[in-house]
Subunit: 384 residues, 2 copies
């Protein structure tokens, strides 16, 4: 594993040299995991500030680093332990609760030659940048995440292997949940079962809040503060699944639609259109042959061809890897050409408010001969 991270950092350093960037500060994030192998903790639902959180990350320069900066409280043992088998981590600087941040930042920037041009994570905090500016008012910032995103977009063999495992686990989670569906279960009950089956499967947890939507003619929906509410399964219900898991630092994202009882012809038609849109898009995912925007058009034109365009209200999908949504994005502004090793969700849908939500979603790997789905649960319409 050693060489993967050294190679990534070498490419990132070359970018800094090319762009005349003196050093970069990458916050504890998916970017930093990608470059160094040190994983962030999953985000909490609400913010949890700790002392020195705005400096929690690593400096890396064309010649030096990565130097990790880590708040002692809650984070230092977490990072130290991960660093044990990673000799490419140059050093770990622990910030104590009693340390004032301005001198700490000054010292850190000084160790990297007082950079004039500093690369920063796209999601670094304003507070981080303002701290660096207090140390030096001449410092200029560049979004380093754009470079790292381009690197992250094309997965290597090891990453693809982990993502395939994540896809297979996701299939197993869905199969286990399907067996446990019963009339009367609410959206919340189903979501809780999904989350539980992920853990049983060995996943770290959900990559995003599991979304279960129960719709159907004559099914009243209560307005709750929860995404997964109290709407219960009854004959004629349509269940839309949207969930994913975290496995070895990579994620999945998956969707299927399940009918409670044989669907009527209209629902079958919606289901068929959505599946055709997905199938045509997957087939078109040939390396070098199509752009992200072009792929979005492929699926959209299928649904529009059936006169249902206004019910497909979102982009076709998104890049996926360490994060559940990462560039490139399958929408009209993204002209990235698809390349072997890129992974995208392909998730067309038809939603008619108050009536039906039909969706499908798989993570699909781009290859020289078209897309290869990493999850493979049946795409026939599913009836319980």
């Amino acid at each position: 594993m050693d060489s993967i991270y050294r190679t990534r950092m070498r490419r990132f350093r070359q970018w800094m040299v090319d762009e005349k960037i003196d050093a970069s500060f990458i916050m504890m994030s998916s970017d930093l995991q990608y470059l160094t192998g040190i994983r962030r903790q999953p985000h909490n639902p609400t913010d949890d500030d700790k002392h020195a959180d705005e400096l929690y990350g690593a400096f890396i320069s064309p010649e030096g680093g990565p130097l990790f900066v880590v708040p002692r409280m809650g984070a230092s043992s977490y990072v130290r332990k991960q660093a044990e088998d990673k000799p490419w981590i140059e050093d770990i600087e622990v910030v104590d609760d009693g340390d004032r941040l301005c001198p700490v930042a000054e010292d850190l920037l000084d160790r990297f030659g007082s950079p004039r041009r500093l690369g920063v994570s796209g999601r670094a905090w304003a507070r981080t940048l303002l701290l660096f500016q207090r140390v030096s008012d001449e410092i200029q910032f560049t979004d380093a995440s754009q470079k790292i995103a381009a690197m992250r977009a094309v997965k290597d063999a090891n990453e693809l292997c982990v993502m395939r495992e994540a896809g297979e686990m996701t299939d197993r989670v869905f199969a286990a949940v399907l067996k446990r569906l019963r009339l009367g279960m609410t959206e919340y009950d189903i979501a809780r079962e999904v989350d539980h089956q992920m853990i049983i499967c060995g996943a770290t947890g959900a990559s995003f809040h599991t979304g279960i939507t129960v719709t159907g003619d004559d099914i009243p929906r209560r307005d709750t503060q929860h995404r997964n509410g109290d709407t219960a399964l009854q004959p004629g219900a349509v269940i839309a699944f949207d969930f994913g898991l975290i496995w070895k630092g990579y994620v999945s994202d998956f969707g299927r639609t399940v009918f409670c009882g044989e669907p009527d012809e209209e629902f079958k038609r919606y289901h068929d259109v959505v599946m055709r849109a997905q199938a045509e898009a997957i087939e078109a995912m040939e390396s070098g042959q199509i752009t992200a925007a072009g792929l979005n058009r492929v699926a959209r034109s299928v649904i529009e061809g059936d006169g249902l365009g206004q019910y497909f209200t979102h982009r076709l999908g998104h890049g996926i890897g360490i994060d559940v949504h990462e560039p490139p994005f399958l929408y009209q502004l993204d002209e990235t050409t698809l390349q072997s090793g890129m992974c995208f969700t392909v998730e067309p849908s038809i939603r008619i408010p108050g009536r039906v939500a039909v969706r499908v979603e798989d993570v699909v790997q781009v290859t020289d001969s078209g897309g290869v789905p990493l999850s493979n649960f049946s795409r026939d319409y599913l009836v319980i």
Copy 2:
């Protein structure tokens, strides 16, 4: 409710006038909820980028706004619906998937008189600031969250009422979980039960990842990737609880220690020291009489007085309200004087690695006559 938000915005606007700040951009965040009543969605465990996410927030100036900027996908209906009963929301600008961000940002800044000095959330993204700088290279940023944090620190009567409800709900959740504890349950099983009881109680969900730690002499701990692992309850185990919920946009944070079987004298002593440290701190939380740093010392000196200082490894607590951790913080660098209406967690602990973790935690409101806990479950040592 109307007047609360108008009052808060008036105070924030006065700060802008005083500081010669032309306008502020506050990201969709707890700060924005505080100022306008529009709630953010809870964070997902991994990042979920959408088009225009770096502009998802609101502009507010001494005379204008709040003007919300909202990505159409996934966010516009969420914000629109919340804005329906909030006439103080001036306008909502929806950014379509096809809109390029630089012209959008230029137009927005233009509508606010092309501000030279712009207040920004402390956790606004670097990418947001870089976008604004592309529009105008003369723009200067100020951390507006510091002002909002000072306002947020002192809760008004309505906020205290909601936080008290959150505390009472938390007591009920804990009582329900206690009844369900059985030998053989793992940390994961217990955490899952806690999360479930929160929902049954009506909470939006957990405010942070529920933490259950089972320790005790001769209890082997498996090294897992999960915070809540497979360590199971057995006679002699000590269970440390750390959890909180979200209720009406405010949060709780709570801790107790439970013994499986009557604890020995040594464990009882640890428990007693932790409770004394908390009790003395709560008593000292008198408005105007002590600083955050001073309060930290009060509790620490109790534990140090018993020769156990090295096992109390963290700050005494943190401000809490819309976020689980928010300023002020009960640690040596924070010289804020406690005022009536501030709320803090008071959470001393003793952790002897591989042996025992004893903790207690309550949210405590500062009053003129000392601290008043918002959760009131028994602080005696609990035995199952």
